[in-house]
Each structure stands twice: as structure tokens, then as C-alpha cells.
Symmetry: C2
Amino acid sequence: MESLKNRIRREARVLPGNIVKVDGFLNHQVDARFLGELADAFGEVFDVSRVTKILTAEASGIPLAAVCSYKYGVPMVFAKKAKSDNIEGGLYRSEVFSYTYQKKVTLLVSRDWITPEDRVLIVDDFLARGEAMRGLLDIIKQSGAQLEGIGVAVEKGFQHGGDRLRQEGYPLKSLAIIERADENGFVFREE
Amino acid sequence: MESLKNRIRREARVLPGNIVKVDGFLNHQVDARFLGELADAFGEVFDVSRVTKILTAEASGIPLAAVCSYKYGVPMVFAKKAKSDNIEGGLYRSEVFSYTYQKKVTLLVSRDWITPEDRVLIVDDFLARGEAMRGLLDIIKQSGAQLEGIGVAVEKGFQHGGDRLRQEGYPLKSLAIIERADENGFVFREE
């Protein structure tokens, strides 16, 4: 998606440890109108009329999933990352390793909101090693729901989480795949 | 807002400890189209054409703030609740006590995204004792930005955080104020 690549070229920064910061429009400050364009781009790849539920992980996936939910007119569910008093029993749980926080986190989704009848589109802002994505896929598997697709805004291609998912046959679409990010700027994978 | 009160009557549950669960449409599963109606209701109270930035706290405030951002066409910023490697220096910080998690949490916002030129609308899904809201107000004060208003979906009136803010003169609008919640259902404050 050319407009997303341009926005990354203009606004993203690279920090030590291969961290790509797009916190001016995607995951700290959020330009929701622009996220609407990303939601439309997913709609060109996936048949969103089949989707009954959008799933993402807190916190940075929520804005994109909320805008997709608004545009497609189906509910979204966000996996929570810690046990709070507001979630009692009846949970799908999946433990994943967070490289951002350098610790294990447990993704939690209430069994009330994903059921075997659901056809789920996973949406997330970032895909790197794919740990969080594995947790969301695990939760869909536990639920018996059907996976309709995986829509990602920015994939860090050089960390290969997306490549492994594609090799395994998952219907993954990333709107911008960064192959290299350094002081010379960004190189994107050709499609 | 009658449609919100009706939805609370129909779908919310009350858990021990005065916890009101609206996780079927507001803060775990999210009906973003309905949040669009809440965003419109805020637009009837506040002059959103003056607003340059929407501010909320992760995680459960994000869907509503994202939909407001989409509808009003201005960016939203969400305060993060833990120091991650993705946020380096240059932060506003405010320490608040979370009753949900029964511990202190630090709200963090990058100085890049709230500046003295901003006119900020705070948006949140819930207001109870008002601790998180105090943190957001503190961050706006640190930034030198101007507060345009505080829009809350559901206020727990019996915990009086909202009453204290109104007494202090803050421009707070809650779309549904719960005065009592128990096995007999919900009683809302008359407006």
C-alpha cells in the first residue's frame, strides 16, 4: 500500500534493536482517518462481508481494529494482556513471549465473545517475530471459530514471523513489509 | 443518552465489588458503530471543531477514542500504562492508583504528541473514582495544552469521582450516570 509506505518513509524512525517507531500515526498518536484507508485496503483482500468478528491484541492493535469494526459494521474483540478483576472465568488463554516487554504475557479472551459460529478477521498494527499473532491464532483454534484472514499494517519482513505464517498457509496480508530499516531509510519488499 | 442506558439495562452485569461489566459492547467486545453514536453525542455537547487532539488511557478507552478520532478527523493519543522499550525519553508522566488492578500505574504520553498549542478532548469509557482521569488531566496540565472537555460513556455516580470533577469546574459530560447497580437492575441519574 503506497500511502502507508510513504507515511513510514516520512514519519517513522528506527531505534536500536531494530525497533521501528510509527508512533505518530499508528500506535501512540493515532490518525484514525488514515486507519480507515488501511481498513479499506484489507477489504480489497478479504471478503469482509463474511467476517462476523474482528480480533486483535491490546493495546496497540485496538485503534486499527476499532476502525475496521466501525467500517465493516461487525464487533471487534481485543485480547487482554493481564488478569484484571473485570474478567472472571470462562476464558481462552494463550501464553506468548513479548519482545517489546521482554517477558511472557498471557492473552485472554472471554469465551462469550468468540464462538464456534464466528468467522474471524485478525487485525494488528505490527507483525515482527509473530509471537502475539500465534497467541491470537491459538485462541481462535481453542474457540472453534473459523479464521477468515490476517490483516497487518506493518510487517518487519527481516524478522520472518510473517514468512513462517505464509509458509504454513495462513491467509496473511501485510500492507507494508519492511525488508531493511537503518540510517539510510527503509527498503520495502516488492509485491 | 437513552440508547446507552437501554443497552446497559439489557446487557450489563453487576459483579461483587460494584464492578459493572459492559464488556459485550464497550470494553472487551466492542460495537464500534454504537461507539459512533456516543461520539456524535459528545459532538452535541462539545464544540469538536475546536478540538485538535483526543486523549484517552489504554486500554479500554482506546476504541471510543479511535472512533471519535475517525468521526471528528483529528488525531487521538492514548496514554500508555507501562514503560516499554518503544517509548524512549521525552515523556509526560502521571502516577495514578488503579482500582481495577489494585496497584499504582504510571500513565505515559510522549511530549511529541501533546503540545501547548493543542486543545484536548479527553474521552474514556468509564469514570468511577476518577483516578485515571486525574492522571490524564495532570498530563494536559504538564503539556500546557488547553482542555476542551471530558467525554465519558459510563459514569458510576455512586463512586463520586465525576461529582468532584464537576464541583471543581471541569467540563465533564457522561452519557449515562449509574446511581445504583444491584440485583434489581440499574438506576440512572436524571438529567
